[in-house]
Each structure stands twice: as structure tokens, then as C-alpha cells.
Point group: C2
Chain length 242, copies 2
DNA sequence: AAGTGGTCTAGACCACTCT
DNA sequence: GAGTGGTCTAGACCACTTG
């Protein structure tokens, strides 16, 4: 039927379909974890052939927005789950026991200019700041400073810290309804300041690896700025290039 | 026509086709840079529908083995070209002028066990070892130690070093017929030994970033082990996770 | 104008998962 | 067995590149 006209947005019809489907997902028409309607149904609804809708869904799968499972269906992806910070570091006894977390401080204040800019906030905006220590067994391994935008993360600004558990992202979801969908980590090397060195039980000026993370939700808004510091000699990461 | 039987290797017919095409490419039926026959011709030759052959070629394109250009054809990829080592480092005046190279030494000797293992060589095999300095302007920036397997790279073991130019991979291709197709870089952190520090004009024990590279040709054989060292404070790298 | 890859369709059958 | 995504086909038209 619809023979000509490739359509408008990117270029191809399946590209446009992917954009449309992405919008419906972001607007919450199907919550994370839920199954989308069958390909046939979606194709009919949008008035395209089955293969075209498949192409669109495959695109969204490549982008990590949905997950396709043979014989079961197509599901909205439920964001980043685990504690992927430790993939940058090798601590001797890791892998045996899961890393634990301890919140060192929690306060509200204006952020440095680069942090505010990363979050898309005004330089004078008040944000939520967390300092956190991550441990393997009893050994302090990573020091983190985390900035969160404040109307959104108000539920974390009060209440008991003990009930938080070891992972933040599941907490973001339960308390604030925020799904972390994508993150960008910038790696560099530096030296520990005195206070940072103290909690990590290293000497001031000790070489450290710094991972600056910017995390985004499904809609593409930045919802977290995080700086992680760890002993440089424990750092290890592998990149494949083609 | 050929309705049933999904075929053997991986599972799908297009998967098997991709494997077959990969073999033909690796065996040199079409040299790097050359154009493959048209999809129609290949599909007819293998007795499959056009769409199936397209799927197979798309797969090879994803894997970086071929490159598809609209309206022109499908081409065997010519391997890694540039000097992608500098993507891990930010030196102030980089980007303005291209980095230069200076070979510090060239000799034949047995390699440490891990190097030999990485190259798939016996621990006692004699290999070609290069030490190289990379400069931006007149400023020494990176120090490299490069190990190459020896029957293959014999053409580099003799002759004038001045004619080598600033990039190794094009040289590998011209002199030895080796295409670097894929590489794996392992990033870690350490301190400069005395000799390394001297050529980089830094102090002994200065913090450094270490990039350990393992490079492979189209057939998947490791053809280079390289260790690159640079000032840790100049290191910078970004990872996107989903 | 001819040749290439890119998109779209319509319909068939296969493989997996759940009940 | 019913429903899902995965594969394959056959043929049409579109968009880009080159002579």
C-alpha cells in the first residue's frame, strides 16, 4: 500500500517508527519490565509491514531500550542494575564477597560549576550531595562523591540511612522512580587529598584513579554526577578496538 | 526453493553464509580494499535469496570485516590505519600538529614469558623488539616497547630506520603484508623505571599510565604485543555503558 | 543510464516458551 | 496448542554513485 515517501525524521520509515516507539516508551505507556504488544499488533497499529516494524524494534534493542526474547516477547529494559564501578578495579579479595557501602555524609548545598552544568542545573541550585565509602570485606576500596538533582531526589534527603542497602540504583528506582538507563564514565589519574586518603587508609598524595560518571535516565536527562576514587595500582580496564 | 533446514554451523543460514564469506576474505580471494561482487551475484552464487545474503554481509560489516557504501559497493576493510594511541592521552599541543615517532632501538631476542604467550610463540623463540618514542612537537610524550613475531616481520629487522615514517601499521602492510584488523588495549597504572623516565624527561618513579596492546590480523592471529607508557596526569579516556 | 546498496512489502515456515 | 520472536523468500521501488 504505502509505496513511496520514505518519511521525515531521520530518513527511513523504520527509523521514524523507532523514534515514535521510543517516545511512547519514555512517556511510560509501557513501564520498565513490561512486555510490548506483539510485532504483528504493532505493525498493524502503525500501518506498516511486519518486517518494517521488526527493523524498528531491532534498532531499539541495539540502543538498549528494549530487550527481545525469543518465544516470550519484547520487553522494556529495566535500567542498569548492579554495581558496575568495580569493573574498573581489581581488589585481591573481590569476587568472593560482594562489595559493601557506607554513607559518610549527606547534605544539601550548591554544587561546583562543572557538576551543576553536567546535571543541567543552575549554578546556584541546591543539590543533594552524598559521600560514600565502598568496602570489600573490611577493607576500604573506593571513595565516592555523588550529586543528585533536588526536587527529584527529595525522598533520599531524609530518613534512615541504614535501610539503604549496598546499591544506589535500585534505591533510586524504589524511592524516586528513577531508572538509570545509560552512563558515561571518564577515566583519569590524580592524587588523593588528605581527607580522601584518610578514609581509604592511604597516604595523602597517593596516586589514584578517578572515574567521573554522568548517568542518564531513559528520557536522556542527566540524573547523577559521581566521582569515584580508588588506588591507582588497583585500576585495570580493557578496551577492544576495531 | 530451499525451504526447511536452518543449516549447520552457528545456526541460521545467514550466519553460515557470513562464516563462508569470512573464510573467502581471509584466504585472500578479495584483497583488502577491493570490492566484493554485487549482492545479487553473491546471492545467486550461493543459491539464497537476496535478503539472506544481505543479512550475512550486514553481519560482516558489524564485525568490521567489510564496509558497505551506498551506491558504490561492499569493500574489504583495510584494517586500522592511524595512530590511535593518542586517544588515551591529552597533551596540550596535540591536535595542532601530528605526533612524530623516533625509533630508539631495534634488536632480536627472546621475549618475557607473557609476551611470548600473547604472541602464541614458544618462550625460547627469537622475536623482534623495538623501542620507540612518540613526540608532539619537540616534547617526548609516550614511550613504547613493541614485540613482533619473527619470520613474519623479518623485512623490518634490517634496512634504514629513517624511511619508516611516523606510523607503524602502514609500514606493517607495505613491508610485511600484515593488516592489523583488531586490537585489545589493557589499561593500568604504574611508575616509570629510570631508563623510561629519562627519555620522557620525567623523574624516576613518576606515575605513569600503561597501555598493553595485543593486535590481531584478519585471521585472528596475534601479530603484535606493545606496551605504551605516558605521564599519568595526561591520561584521559571515556567509556559509555548501557 | 547503469549499477550499487537501502528500504519496504507480503507471506511462509521455523524455533522457542508457556500453559 | 497457541503465541511469541527469528529466518527466509520473491519481488518492487528508492537513493546514491559513477561513467
Amino acid at each position: 500500500m504505502n509505496r513511496q515517501l520514505p518519511s521525515e525524521p531521520g530518513q527511513s520509515r523504520y527509523g521514524a517508527l523507532a523514534v515514535a516507539m521510543r517516545a511512547r516508551i519514555v512517556q511510560g505507556e509501557w513501564p520498565p519490565g513490561a512486555a510490548l504488544p506483539a510485532e504483528q499488533a504493532l505493525a498493524a497499529e502503525h500501518g506498516v509491514a511486519l518486517g518494517t516494524m521488526r527493523r524498528a524494534l531491532d534498532l531499539l534493542a541495539e540502543q538498549g531500550l528494549v530487550e527481545r526474547v525469543h518465544g516470550r516477547g519484547t520487553f522494556v529494559k529495566a535500567g542498569l542494575s548492579g554495581a558496575p564501578m568495580f569493573r574498573f578495579f581489581r581488589f585481591g579479595d573481590a569476587g568472593v564477597e560482594p562489595p559493601r557501602s557506607r554513607i559518610l555524609s549527606r547534605d544539601k548545598m550548591a554544587a561546583p560549576a562543572d557538576i551543576a552544568r553536567g546535571l543541567g542545573a543552575a549554578p546556584s541550585d541546591t543539590l543533594l550531595r552524598l559521600k560514600r565509602l565502598r568496602l570489600v570485606g573490611d577493607r576500604p576500596c573506593l571513595y565516592e562523591e555523588i550529586w543528585l538533582p533536588l526536587p527529584l531526589f527529595e525522598p533520599l534527603a531524609k530518613g534512615d540511612l541504614v535501610a539503604w542497602g549496598d546499591l544506589l540504583y535500585p534505591l533510586f528506582l524504589e524511592r524516586c522512580g528513577v531508572h538509570v538507563h545509560r552512563a558515561v564514565d571518564a577515566i583519569s589519574f590524580g592524587n588523593l587529598a588528605a581527607t580522601q586518603a584518610r578514609v581509604l587508609r592511604l597516604s595523602t598524595g597517593h596516586p589514584c584513579a578517578r572515574v567521573q560518571r554522568q548517568a542518564f535516565d531513559v528520557a536522556g536527562r542527566c540524573i547523577e554526577m559521581r566521582t569515584t576514587l580508588g588506588d591507582a595500582s588497583a585500576f585495570h580496564y580493557t578496551v577492544s578496538i576495531t
